[in-house]
């Protein structure tokens, strides 16, 4: 019973779009007959039949984006019938758990079958298996499962408040009131592509092993903050396709300007830090790259006019990211004063919620620890974060090829590949480098 499979026509190809069916249901086909036009992100080509028989079922409609490896049609031999496909998906889902990815793929295909894929292609969201495919993986009371079934809710989006995280009725009622647990609400074509890629990319998180209880060990329970950090960082690393771009910035000019400014501002009690300059440069640079100053939402990218700059502040047990509002429009001295005030109060635990919420971009600085290079995890739903390393004096070549000492600092961008491409990230980092290497631009 041969199925016609979406072929992989290039290493990067994850899905293809069925542009046009060249044969219809019921048509007799021979090996080598062109049966469909397939469009990948690079080329359009004809798909040829590998089996002879009757093209009995077209699973994909024209315009549907289908993950590589999924069936798009069925070629029946004599007296043969296409297998029941929905059933298969169900069974896979029920057999449960380990093979979640596969079930998700099957479901994605099913939804694509219904022809809704294309229309909702802008609705993209965090890839998440829907309630039906992943139902078996949640602790939930019977009525919760029934409500989820009846109202097409995705239990994966509901936090359980019962014992061991059991999702109980009140959690579902609250989610229904908020309306944020609808299955497939964020599952547009893009989301589906993620789902389709998910089998390989996102195996189910393994449960942490029990403590060994060995001599010389003690078990420290996670603090509330630690738990939040653990959850958010894991989620970001698992859900967000990070890409990284590092630039090395010559800091000599900036250092001398900083020295001048700090000398003349000393009486006013202002002392600009390197980080203040970096935040200013990052904020200014974003003017040309709006999709890096954006949030990933259920309805698409939320682009922000102003840069609300979140800065990572290390605490004894964890970290927090207070926000400097409109860092692009603020002067260096305003940024400096704001950063000092926020960092101080972050350490003493006196921040108000609106002072650490609403960030659109984050800067994380480990330069003061002498770190030469590092990469940061994106602070979801933001698009990007810049990791700031130490300024290191190193021999370098000038334009004539002479070896000269230079103060160099590495900046590494981590960006969400769903929201921006590598080229944009590279151009943005080049702009930040240009601003820092011409620091007067940050003062005017």
């Amino acid at each position: 019973m041969p199925e016609v499979i979406m072929p992989k026509m290039g290493d990067a190809m994850e899905e293809g779009t069925v542009l046009k069916w060249l044969k219809g249901e019921g048509d007799e086909i021979s090996v080598g007959d062109p049966i469909a036009e397939i469009e990948t992100d690079k080329v359009t080509l004809e798909l040829e039949a590998e089996d002879a028989g009757t093209l009995s079922n077209l699973y994909a409609s024209e315009g549907d984006a289908i993950p590589v490896g999924d069936a798009i049609a069925f070629v029946a031999g004599e007296g043969e019938e296409a297998p029941e496909r929905g059933g298969e998906a169900e069974v896979e889902a029920e057999e449960g758990g380990e093979d979640e990815g596969q079930a998700a793929t099957a479901t994605a295909t099913e939804e694509a079958d219904s022809g809704e894929g294309e229309e909702s292609s802008e609705d993209s969201g965090a890839p998440q298996a829907n309630g039906r495919a992943s139902d078996g993986n949640f602790r939930a009371s019977p009525i919760v499962r029934r409500l989820a079934r009846e109202n097409e809710l995705d239990l994966g989006k509901i936090e359980g408040s019962g014992p061991a995280g059991r999702i109980v009725e009140r959690d579902v009622r609250a989610a229904m009131e908020r309306g944020d647990a609808k299955a497939g609400a964020d599952g547009g074509a893009e989301g589906k592509a993620e789902e389709a890629a998910a089998p390989q990319a996102a195996p189910k998180a393994a449960e942490a092993p029990a403590p060994t209880g060995a001599e010389g060990t003690e078990v420290q329970e996670l603090s509330r903050m630690r738990k939040v950090i653990a959850q958010r960082m894991s989620q970001s690393k698992q859900e967000v396709p990070h890409f990284y771009a590092t630039v090395e910035v010559e800091m000599d000019e900036l250092m001398s300007l900083r020295k001048q400014l700090n000398t003349s501002l000393e009486d006013e009690g202002i002392k600009l830090s390197v980080n203040d300059f970096v935040m200013k440069a990052c904020a200014l640079g974003l003017g040309k790259f709006p999709n890096l100053n954006a949030l990933w939402t259920s309805e698409g990218l939320e682009l922000h006019e102003k840069v609300n700059m979140a800065m990572a502040v290390a605490l004894d047990d964890g970290l927090i990211t207070p926000v400097i509002k409109d860092a692009g429009g603020a002067t260096l001295s305003t940024i400096s004063a704001g950063a000092k005030d926020l960092a101080g109060r972050a350490r003493s635990g006196d921040l108000k919620p609106d002072e650490y919420q609403g960030g659109t971009f984050t800067v994380s600085n480990m330069g003061m620890f002498g770190v030469e290079s590092f990469t940061a995890i994106i602070n979801q739903p933001q698009a990007a974060i810049v990791a700031v390393s130490a300024i290191v004096k190193r021999p370098s070549f000038d334009e004539e090829g002479n070896v000269v000492p230079k103060s160099l600092m590495k900046l590494t961008l981590s960006a969400d590949h769903r929201m921006a491409n590598g080229a944009e990230g590279a151009l943005y980092m080049a702009e930040v480098k240009r601003l820092l290497e011409s620091p007067m631009l940050l003062v005017v």
Binding site: S141, P142, I143, R146, S161, V168
Partner: protein, 336 residues
């Protein structure tokens, strides 16, 4: 006559209500006779039959020897031949001596005879504990007798039901195990006048609520009502179901209630293992599974022979606090 006689309800004790039910049927039907130890001249150990000997004489109110197997067997024979005996077990604990007669004969004769011979027999007496009678005189036998097809088992808690179910029990053509709440003989309640017969197999909603269903029978119903009051202070509206009848059993009442509340607590004075509460939990998960928001919890007596000492006896039986906390647990609330 008004329906269930409730239109003319009067406040009476559980004891008076039982007596009134028996008298109502003795007046209507000469074949109704009472039998038991000390029920005649002495008026009954618990004074249930007080005065009836004088009223009806020794042919209808019979003092028996201290021989439960003997007089129960005699009553079965009388019932087979058309009488309607009402036998008192001084306490249900003594029925162990008569259990061969009850289980092997009363429950089986109609079946063995292909329906030709009926056994219209009522065996009644105080069941359960709460009055410091210690281990050998404190048993709750509803699950034991409820186990046997051929018997009907009822356990009223209100005086009105005590009378109404006694009338129904005497009229029934099958042996009825009538389990009285011995600790409640002196409690008062409105009792319908005249014929207030209460149908078997119909539970009573003792209190309406929307958030959690507390299910009990016999004296634990009152416990549940008090727990419901306590829960109301937390804003929880508990529904209390009085099963009244263990066999036949009103499954629909449980299922309907749980479909509304999504949570259930089953309460029984008897030991947890193999008890009525387990049956309640099983029925609910079987028929209302998709409506449950939490496992059904059982609140039962401690797994020890009933203690004599008052403080220990209180500890050994379900408390209002245990019931309220079980309800909080199925509500996913903090226990108190």
């Amino acid at each position: 006559m008004a329906e269930n006689g409730k239109a003319n309800a009067e406040t009476k004790t559980y004891r008076e209500a039982l007596r009134e039910g028996m008298v109502h049927e003795m007046e209507n039907d000469e074949s109704v006779v009472l039998m038991g130890e000390d029920i005649g001249v002495y008026g009954g150990t618990h004074l249930i039959t007080d005065g009836l000997y004088d009223q009806y004489g020794p042919k209808r109110v019979m003092d028996t020897p201290i021989s439960e197997g003997g007089f129960t067997g005699a009553a079965i024979g009388m019932a087979m031949l058309g009488m309607r005996p009402v036998v008192e077990m001084m306490t249900w604990n003594f029925s162990f001596l008569a259990s061969d007669q009850i289980i092997q004969n009363a429950a089986k004769v109609r079946y063995f005879s292909g329906g030709q011979v009926k056994v219209p027999l009522v065996i009644r007496g105080p069941n359960g504990g709460g009055v410091q009678l210690s281990a050998q005189h404190t048993h709750s036998l509803e699950n034991m007798y409820g186990h046997f097809p051929g018997l009907k088992v009822v356990s009223p808690v209100t005086p009105n039901d005590a009378k109404g179910m006694m009338i129904t029990a005497i009229r029934d053509d099958n042996p009825v195990i009538f389990l009285e709440a011995g600790a409640l003989y002196g409690t008062k309640g409105e009792v319908g006048e005249g014929d207030n017969a209460v149908e078997f197999g119909k539970a009573r909603i003792a209190r309406e609520g929307t958030d959690v269903t507390l299910i009990a029978y016999g004296r634990q119903v009152n416990l549940c009502l008090r727990a419901a009051d306590a829960l109301e202070e937390d804003g929880v509206k508990a529904e209390v179901i009085d099963l009244r009848s263990i066999r036949p059993f009103d499954e629909d009442a449980l299922v309907e209630s749980v479909k509304k509340t999504h949570r259930a607590v089953a309460v029984q004075e008897q030991w947890r293992w193999f008890g009525v509460a387990s049956e309640v939990a099983a029925i609910i998960q079987d028929r209302a599974f998709d409506y449950l928001d939490a496992p059904v919890i059982r609140v039962s007596g401690a797994e020890v022979p009933a203690p004599y000492a008052r403080n220990l006896e209180i500890e050994a039986f379900p408390s209002e606090k245990q019931v309220a906390n079980a309800a909080r647990r199925v509500m996913y609330m903090e226990e108190k």
